[in-house]
Every structure is written in C-alpha cells, then in structure tokens.
Symmetry: C2
Subunit: 308 residues, 2 copies
C-alpha cells in the first residue's frame, strides 16, 4: 500500500493529507439547518451534515492531494450514526481515488488488535459456510498505538501483508504533553527512539518498494526530533500531524523529508476544512466553504513545496 501512496504523492506533487475531522462548529449553518429539518434534533442530522461537509471538501480537493485522513473520534462522538458517516466518508474517498488513512489509534493485546486490524483494514468471512467476505470499514492505512508492544502491533502487520494495507505507528505525537512518557530517557535515549527501533524491526516484515507498509507518526510540532527520527527510520514513511492549527509550519518540515522530497506526508485538518472561518479565506463565505478549503490546500502545498 505504501508504494501506492508514494505514487499518488509523486503524481500530484503533494506530500499532503487532508484531515477530515468535522466538528459541529466547523459545519456551515445552512447545512446543519437543512439536516435538522430533515432528520430532527438527532445524531443522524449531525452525521448527515458531517458527510455532506466531507463530500464538499473531497470534491474540491481530490485532484490536489493523494489522501484524506478521517479522525474516527469525531464520528464516534456521535454514536452509531456518526460511525455510519465515517464509513460513508471512507467509501466516497475511494470513489474519488483518494487513499484513506483512518486515524483510529487503536492498539490492544494480540487477539484484540487482530479484531481491530480485521475490522478496519481487513476482511471477515461470514455465513454458514464462511463464504461471504466483507471488508467492514475498508480504510487503506490506519494509525496504531504501540504502548502494548509487539504483540499488539503484529496482528496489524499480518493484515497489511494479507491485504496490501499500511499502518502508521505513533512514535512522537504532536500534543504538548507527548513528552511526559515518550521523551523519558532509557539508557540515555528517549522512549520514542525505542519505539522507532521497533518500527524499523516491524517494518522489515512488510516492505513495499522503497518504503515499508509500517510507517510512523511524528508531530510537526517537534521538528528537531522529526529530523532525527527521519534518520533513524530510513524505511518508514512519516505521517506528520500538527501543521497549521497546532502550530507547525512549512519551515519546520524539511527534516521530516528525504532529499528527494519523499519520506513524509503532512496532515492538516482544521486549517483546511474550516478555512472559510479563517480571516484569510473569509471572503469565500460559508456557502463556498469547499472553495476556501481548496485555496487553503493550494497555499499549504506552496508552503511545503518551497520548504522541502
């Protein structure tokens, strides 16, 4: 799968992923009003509004970027209807030719991680003779939490190998308190470097072209660590959250990339999807929220292309 993502990144000259993380406050009022009228004051109304919002953004940016990254928490927050909107978003992204990175950050003991892996990037067999094969969520790549160690991650890799899918393992996250545990020194090295060593080890079991299907998450908010981790994990693609709203900018990103401009993909969520609420793009107005998102993607691409 990583080779497919790399190919799409090259084709569009865009090492960028749009985070589809809808929140009520981002949704234009006219969409919400319409859905409340149709579905009443229900979870369904919010979920349908999220989906219409996502479709608008995907239609506007699908020719510019290789991938989208829906954050499942935003959908799960609205229960079953929210998760239906998540699944519909994944399916629509595929129709638009986008790689889907499910930001699920799952991780558990072995047999349980296997269930997450199967549900999100794999398939189940159902029916009295086990003949009907169904891909329940069908993302292409998912994010994985490593705290439980190898036996919580390997089931994901097994599914990657079976179905040609990928994972990004949390190594150094973008949030302010990520250092509380991740930066703790073990024999002089931070914990996140030990996780990076494991990403290398796991990655060798799922190579796909120049890179591995086992990538890493390293926040844009920690650029020095990004450069060091780029060096330490030569075969791992790095998913870089934290650009834009969380504080990272293009000049912070050079170190995450290899000299050929590959090796990393940068996520922006609210900076893109809520661009119309940003003073810079306010002239678009809420009806043209998707055009504002397209303009924000173009600006982000310019910033990144200039800096890497």
């Amino acid at each position: 799968m990583i080779s497919k993502l790399v190919e799409e990144i090259k084709k569009k000259d865009a090492p960028v992923v749009v985070g589809l993380d809808p929140q009520l406050k981002f949704i234009p009022g006219y969409i919400l009003d319409k859905k409340y009228e149709e579905f009443g004051d229900t979870l369904e109304a919010v979920a349908e509004a999220f989906y219409e919002f996502n479709v608008g953004i995907m239609d506007a940016v699908a020719d510019l970027v290789p991938a989208v990254k829906p954050q499942v928490a935003m959908y799960e927050q609205y229960g079953i209807p929210g998760l239906i909107a998540f699944k519909k978003t994944v399916d629509y992204a595929h129709k638009k030719g986008l790689v889907v990175i499910g930001d699920i950050k799952r991780g558990d003991i072995g047999s349980t991680s296997e269930s997450y892996a199967i549900g999100h990037i794999g398939s189940v067999s159902v029916g009295s003779s086990d003949k009907k094969v169904i891909f329940p969520f069908e993302e292409d790549i998912v994010t994985v939490n490593p705290y439980l160690g190898s036996d919580g991650v390997k089931p994901f890799i097994d599914v990657c190998n079976k179905e040609d899918k990928g994972i990004f393992v949390l190594v150094k996250t973008s949030n302010p308190s990520s250092g509380e545990f991740q930066d703790q020194k073990i024999d002089g090295r931070p914990l996140y470097e030990l996780v990076a060593d494991k990403v290398n080890e796991w990655g060798l079991t799922s190579m796909d072209g120049d890179y591995s299907n086992v990538g890493a998450v390293v926040g844009a908010t920690y650029p020095e660590m990004g450069a060091e981790l780029r060096r330490l994990m030569p075969k791992a693609y790095i998913l870089v959250p934290g650009y834009g709203a969380q504080g990272g900018s293009g000049k912070d990103l050079k170190g995450f990339f290899n000299s050929d401009g590959l090796g990393a993909i940068v996520n922006s969520s609210r900076g893109i999807i809520a661009a119309y609420q940003n003073e810079k793009y306010a002239s678009f107005g809420e009806k043209a929220f998707a055009d504002a998102s397209r303009a924000a993607v173009e600006d982000m691409l310019k910033d990144i292309r200039e800096n890497i």
Copy 2:
C-alpha cells in the same frame, strides 16, 4: 461512579467482571444458523448472534457479578452492525443493573480524546438550539491508553467529573510483550510506575468516596508488579485482566487487593462466555451455554474469595 461499582462489588461479594468479548467461534451453532437464516450471510447476522449470546450470558450471571466489560474491538470487527450490537449490549446491561466497563483503550491528543470521552461516557447537544442532549454510547467506565500523556487523559477526567463516570488507565497490560516499552527503566524505575504516578496525580482530581474515578489496568499475569502497583496507587481501583485463559489464577491475585478485599476487580472473558466449550463444563451442552457461564462464574468467585 467508582463508589457505585464498589457498592455493587460489596453487595454481591464479587470483585469480578465478565468480559463480553464474543467471537464467532464462541457462538453456539444453533444461534448462528438462526441468524444467518433470518439476516442472510451478513454482518447483521453475526452482530445479532453476538447480541443474543450476550443477553443469554447477562441473564444468567447478572445476580452474581457487579459489572460486564464488552471489548469494543470484537464488535468493531463487524463494522456498523457490530457496533450496533455493542450499543445494544451496553443498554441491556444497564437494564439488568450491571455497571458497564467499555474496554475501548482510546487515547489521542486533547481535543480528540475529548470527542472519545464525550461519545462513550458523556453527552452531546444537538439541534438548532442545542437543546437535545444525547448519550451516544453511554458506558459507565472506559479504559484509556496513556501513551500521549496528560492532555490525552484529562478530557476523559473532565467528563468523569461532569457525568459521574470513571476510567481505567492502562498501566501494565496482561500481554506477553507488554514489557517491551512498559518495563523500560527510567532513572531506575519502570515506565509503568511513572504512569502509575500520573494515575495518582490525575486521580486526585476525581475522588469519589475512598477511591478515585481514575483507576488502573494491571494484568493478572504480572502478580508481583500488581502488588507493588497496589501499594503505589492507594486510591486507584485496579481492573485486572488476564485471569483464566490468559494464565492468571486466584492465587496470583491477592496482591492486587487491599486487606479489606477491595481495591481490585478481576475480569474473565472467554473463561466465562465460552465455558460450555471447556471440558469442565461440557456437560451443559451448547443449548445451555449460559448455564455453563453461570457455573464458571460461581467457580471463579470461589477461587477469588478463597485467595484474597
């Protein structure tokens, strides 16, 4: 919430939780056949089979135990229909007076963790005037992954305080490779002890009677660490997975409890729910799978009461 759980544990003299982790191989054939006939070879059929199975077990054990712990991965594996079965299981458990521990192991950056917290133990406001309040999944307690640090955990605690709910933070998990990161020494102390320190710190912000709404997960498979962690986290209730199928037994458990028999709750999943497949309870037969589960709970209670 923890005071309610403690009260139920005392009332039933049962520091035990039944893990509702259905897998296809555990479901009696007659239930599956019936559902495939009704729903075809679909995810719905499996989900409905899981739910009927869970209802049978809850009906059989609800007077014996204070709580159930559905592992969401087992449901998520079957997509949206699976998650509907999860939600129905939570609702049915509440009808039976059981405390519901959602084993979700979520954890993300602050704003995203907030969405998980709201979705699982909190409420959303929907509608044009924000007046309709809905609890999307409505578990009572959820498990949380601490790898992202305080700002990934605090949103859960805020929701605990608002809605009188609880969390169990992963400290030392029951799986074989849990030591890869969790046991790494930082200034001479294992990482899981640093997490335990944080559980104490976080816990002080959500006290509820003698214990905190912020508990900890410590695997039965690591009894020495359990005794040490019991001492290090005096206000944290400890959720102990790994009893039975994963290798832990009653004699390993004494150290997890305080001298008054409180302070821990032990989970068993397949040892209870798939008891009818165990030679010891095979005489029940698959039609009486729930009676086999009840017998297994009674044996587990005896084992634990004798050993703590």
